[in-house]
């Protein structure tokens, strides 16, 4: 088997068995990056020497028997909104073009403790605001399955890197679908965990109450393995939850007999591409054949999720992004007259159009006189959506539907119409509003050869159920 065709878990096993080394694996990734990166632009920061040196260090420890983690020697990519000590962390924004953090995010620390070697930092929509990775200040990332198309976003660089074999696996972050949607567009597996499962410490916040870090991988086994590595209670993050059930690989069981799967009719209405619809329903059919009980139901409130999401996320973002002011770190305009002029010019030049749009939107919905009408109302909708899901999960173990209404759009087709772009998040954002886990698993291609993903949504803390369903489906597809 070609080294690059291995999954992260297969590679870790091969390294453990001495069949290959962390250095060979990294060299293979570097060779691939040198071959395809100029076209795909998956990475914002890629330091070949640093990556190789780290691989050598890790290999020494493996050989010395001091490093024995689940990902020992595996090269991984990290989305550029996660702080990495001493390594440029830009959020794909000009305003952080020179920002080098003093500490690493908790998820990255845990990856490294498990023996993973960081390849570099992946491209993204600026501050994770976007669905195509086109709002990056450092160029667009192209979809490796078809470079005429976007990889999705905002974790587009991470999804594309895994799809292009420029990484064995990657970390992304998901505020409204930013892991699941690019996973779907690029034909890889992506999981957004239950809110509070993975520490947000070191994740540069977009919408704090919605953000979660999660894996983008070649298959469900890798997904479960990385989840097992990064999920842990962190006292540095007040929203982090203590969970005992983080042995996610134990859920890699090929069996869905008796599992109750609900298909929300609202997810299959107007706007959904026919080919996507067919592929997703086919996935449901396969699970049914494997013994799951599948039935349709009304989830309701789906149409309210988008305005509620853009109100809450933008409100939080407008405040979260205030710290980027040119005073302490990051970009500062050269010529200015006085403090306020410095703020104004720095932020005007440092932020891109989509970020400014959301900051303005967020500032508006929080401003006095509008807070009740917008922000509080959005919080109420959020609570109602959570309730609707609670009711659904009283009946079903898993909710199954599409990830996105279409396959990956062409480059440049989305940005001209932000409202349309926002509507593309319709199937993913309610999951963030309700704090639930969701996974995107490849379920075929459309007639243009673009990947389609099926989304499975679980109740809070039911990642294991999702992993089991996704794994069973993946195994069944491979048998086909």
């Amino acid at each position: 088997m070609e080294l690059l065709d291995m999954t992260a878990v297969e590679l870790a096993k091969a390294i453990k068995e001495g069949k290959t080394t962390a250095v060979e694996a990294m060299e293979a990734v570097i060779a691939q990056i040198e071959c395809t990166e100029s076209e795909y632009n998956c990475y914002v920061t890629f330091d070949k020497e640093a990556a190789l040196n780290e691989a050598k260090e890790v290999q020494k420890k493996i050989e010395a028997g001091t490093l024995n983690g689940l990902l020992a020697g595996v090269p991984v990519a990290v989305k550029d909104n996660m702080c990495t000590e001493g390594v440029l962390t830009t959020c794909s924004s000009k305003i952080l073009e020179n920002f080098i953090p003093q500490f690493s995010s908790e998820a990255v620390v845990r990856l490294k403790e498990a023996g993973a070697v960081m390849i570099g930092k992946t491209n993204m929509d600026e501050f994770a605001m976007g669905s195509t990775t086109e709002t990056s200040a450092f160029g667009v990332t192209k979809n490796p399955r078809n470079p005429q198309h976007v990889p999705g976003g905002s974790s587009g660089g991470s999804a594309a890197a895994v799809a292009a074999n420029e990484a064995f696996c990657a970390l992304g972050s998901d505020t409204g679908g930013s892991i699941r949607q690019p996973a779907s567009y690029c034909g890889v597996v992506g999981m957004k965990p239950t809110y509070g499962t993975v520490s947000r410490y070191g994740l540069i916040a977009y919408g704090s109450s919605l953000d979660q870090i999660g894996p983008l991988t070649k298959d469900v086994t890798d997904c479960a393995t990385i989840m097992e590595v990064i999920a842990a209670h962190d006292p540095k993050d007040s929203t982090s939850i203590k969970r005992e059930d983080t042995n996610f690989t134990a859920a890699l069981v090929n069996d869905v007999k008796g599992m109750k799967i609900g298909i929300p009719k609202d997810y299959f209405g107007e706007g959904l591409d026919l080919e996507v619809k067919e592929a997703v329903l086919k996935a449901a059919e396969i699970l049914k054949e494997k013994g799951a009980v599948v039935e349709e139901f009304d989830l309701s409130l789906v149409e309210y999720a988008i305005p509620a999401y853009y109100t809450i996320a933008a409100a939080e973002a407008s405040s979260n992004l205030e710290r980027f002011d040119g005073v302490k770190y990051g970009y500062r305009v050269k010529d200015y007259e006085g403090l306020h002029n410095m703020y104004k010019k720095t932020r005007s030049e440092g932020f891109g159009a989509e970020v400014k749009r959301r900051i303005m939107l967020g500032s508006f919905v929080l401003s006095s006189g509008y807070y009740d009408a917008y922000y509080l109302k959005a919080l109420k909708v959020k609570a109602m959506i959570k309730k609707a899901f609670d009711e659904a999960f009283a009946k079903y173990d898993v909710i199954l539907g599409p990830v996105a209404p279409t396959t990956a759009p062409k480059l440049g087709a989305s940005l001209s119409d932000p409202i349309k772009m926002y509507l593309g998040d319709i199937y993913t954002i309610s999951v963030n509003l309700a704090g639930l886990p969701g996974i995107s698993v490849p379920c075929g291609n459309d007639s243009k050869g673009l990947p389609i993903g099926v989304q499975m949504i679980g109740n809070s803390f039911s990642e294991k159920t999702l992993i089991q369903a996704a794994y069973t489906y993946e195994q069944a597809r491979m048998e086909d």
Partner: protein, 530 residues
């Protein structure tokens, strides 16, 4: 001529204008101008007294926002030290400098102090409370938002009772107490025209105690502040030093005609660093507002900054350019639930406050009420009293030292009781030394200064400096004999019935023995020999 004029111009600000009028003022002109100025000033003084008499028609309405820095060891949302001072940016971490990706974690001690202050001021504790972000751009605020509480503050609807001059008490209602983080400090270098930020203070925990507009005079305000300070010091929640900024008061003030039911337009005055500055600022602001109203102008709702040196406040910002802080619940902090159990624990830890202490002291120590009142006015003095008394079991003597020497030194040096740093054991030893007759009272006072300043061990100090009282009869007798021989006139006077003369002879003996003689013995020996 011109030189003299210059000298005058230098000293009299009004005459300084003369140097800019374009001609050389003669000394006569300068002097007559100065005279004119004096008479104008005189007139103004009368006018102001006249106005004060008019002010009887006005009522001053005052509410306070009091910020208190809590005495936690670490900051409110990170583990950095709260210690005052330190080289700039040495008590900082990613959290309190607002680094991207950092997250706040609430310090439980802050909640306990805030709740304790709330309980001591008769507030209702909000058992389900939240933190909100107050958004504004300023470089001393690293995130450009301050984590504070708007919607669900930890304490609400309390009151404290203050004593008025006529002996009656008045309740000042507390609207709310909320927790928040302090900002950093800007250091301006005017020479280089740059500013630096020191984040050492960033994230130091504060509570803000917001009163209702229940105060009517500077005296009531001071009484309210003193009461708050006493409560908080008793709780150990803060040292409440106005000069160092660990207690800061902003004054919301309006005036209205006596009998009016509606409030006038209020102003907020900031930068008040002492009780006397607060009193001056209140009076100045009251007068300013009355002047405006009297002259048919309107009071503008605005924030004003007090300059205590100039005894003048100037407008910082008006309501029109007041910012929209866009408050919303901080999503990085989970709602705080103070369980019944936790609240009970906090209640059970409430200390003995002044009134309870006063009762106990009267019962336990039997010292005069005046002494008790004075000592319990400060937690530090009460602690010192109790510690020392526990060691020497001489409550009255300890009380005498506290209200005598200690209060005198504090006053002379403009210190607060909290500045006392010597060990109670040293005061106890000093009292024992006097009791044993090892040193006399005058020497003890000198030794006490050393204890106060350097925390010396009085036993060792007395020994090392040979300050022990001379009670050796032989040595004393020799000196007394010499004094008698040297002062025949006084001896004669004494023998002639003038008792005063004995005092003179005692004094002479003490002087000859450098104050170390046992005065009782000297008396006895003198009487014998005479």
């Amino acid at each position: 001529m011109k030189n003299n004029a210059d000298a005058l111009i230098f000293h009299t600000p009004i005459c300084a204008e003369a140097s800019q009028i374009g001609f050389d003022a003669t000394i006569e002109i300068v002097c007559t101008t100065a005279l004119a100025v004096f008479s104008i000033a005189q007139f103004l003084r009368y006018a102001s007294e006249w106005r004060i008499s008019m002010a009887k028609q006005y009522e001053t309405v005052i509410g306070l926002e009091v910020h208190v820095e809590l005495a936690t060891k670490t900051k409110i949302f990170c583990g950095c030290s709260t210690e005052f001072g330190g080289a700039p940016n040495t008590h900082t971490c990613p959290v309190c400098t607002g680094m991207p990706g950092s997250l706040p974690v609430l310090n439980k001690q802050v909640v306990e102090y805030a709740a304790a202050v709330g309980l001591a001021t008769n507030c209702t504790i909000t058992q389900y409370c939240k933190f909100d972000r107050k958004n504004y751009f300023y470089p001393d605020n690293p995130q450009n938002y301050q984590i504070s509480q708007l919607y669900l503050p930890i304490c609400r609807d309390g009151h404290v009772d203050i004593k008025l001059e006529d002996g009656t008490t008045k309740a000042i209602r507390i609207h709310e107490i909320h927790m928040e983080e302090d900002a950093g400090k800007l250091i301006h270098d005017d020479w280089e025209d740059v500013s630096f930020v020191d984040f050492n203070r960033s994230g130091v925990p504060l509570i803000e105690i917001v009163s209702e507009p229940d105060m009517r005079s500077a005296k009531e305000v001071i009484a309210y502040l003193e009461k708050l300070r006493l409560i908080i010091q008793y709780l150990g929640a803060s040292d409440c030093k106005l000069q160092e900024g660990s207690m800061r008061a902003d004054v919301n003030l309006s005036v209205r005609e006596v009998g009016a039911t509606d409030f006038g337009t209020r102003t907020e005055t900031k930068n008040l660093n002492s009780f006397s500055a607060i009193a001056r600022a209140i009076e100045a602001e009251r007068d300013r507002q009355i002047d405006l109203i009297e002259s048919g102008q309107k009071v503008i709702q605005e924030t004003r900054r007090w300059d205590d040196n100039k005894a003048y406040s100037y407008a910082m910002r008006s309501k029109e350019d007041a910012q929209d802080y866009r408050y919303f619940p901080d999503p990085d902090l989970v709602p705080l639930h103070i369980s019944d159990e936790w609240l009970e624990t906090i209640k059970s830890r409430q200390p003995e406050f002044k009134s309870e202490k006063m009762e106990r002291y009267a019962k336990e120590f039997g010292i005069p009420e005046y002494d008790i009142e004075m000592i319990t006015d400060s937690k530090r003095l009460a602690d010192l009293f109790e510690e020392t008394t526990a060691l020497c079991n001489q409550p009255k003597k300890v009380a005498n030292w506290i209200i005598g020497e200690i209060m005198r030194i504090l006053k002379d040096k403009s210190l607060e009781p909290e500045d006392i740093s010597f060990d109670a054991s040293n005061l106890a030893k000093l009292i024992a030394l006097v009791d044993a007759g090892t040193i006399n009272g005058n020497v003890a006072k000198d030794v006490f200064v050393k204890i106060f300043e350097e925390n010396v061990d009085p036993e060792q100090y007395v020994k090392e400096n040979g300050l022990g009282q001379i009670s050796d009869e032989g040595a004393l007798r020799a000196t007394v004999e010499k004094i008698i021989a040297d002062n025949p006139q006084s001896v004669a006077d004494y023998r002639g019935g003038k008792d005063k003369a004995l005092g003179f002879l005692v004094g002479q003996t003490m002087k000859a023995m450098k104050g170390k003689a046992n005065p009782g013995l000297v008396n006895k020996i003198l009487k014998e020999l005479l």
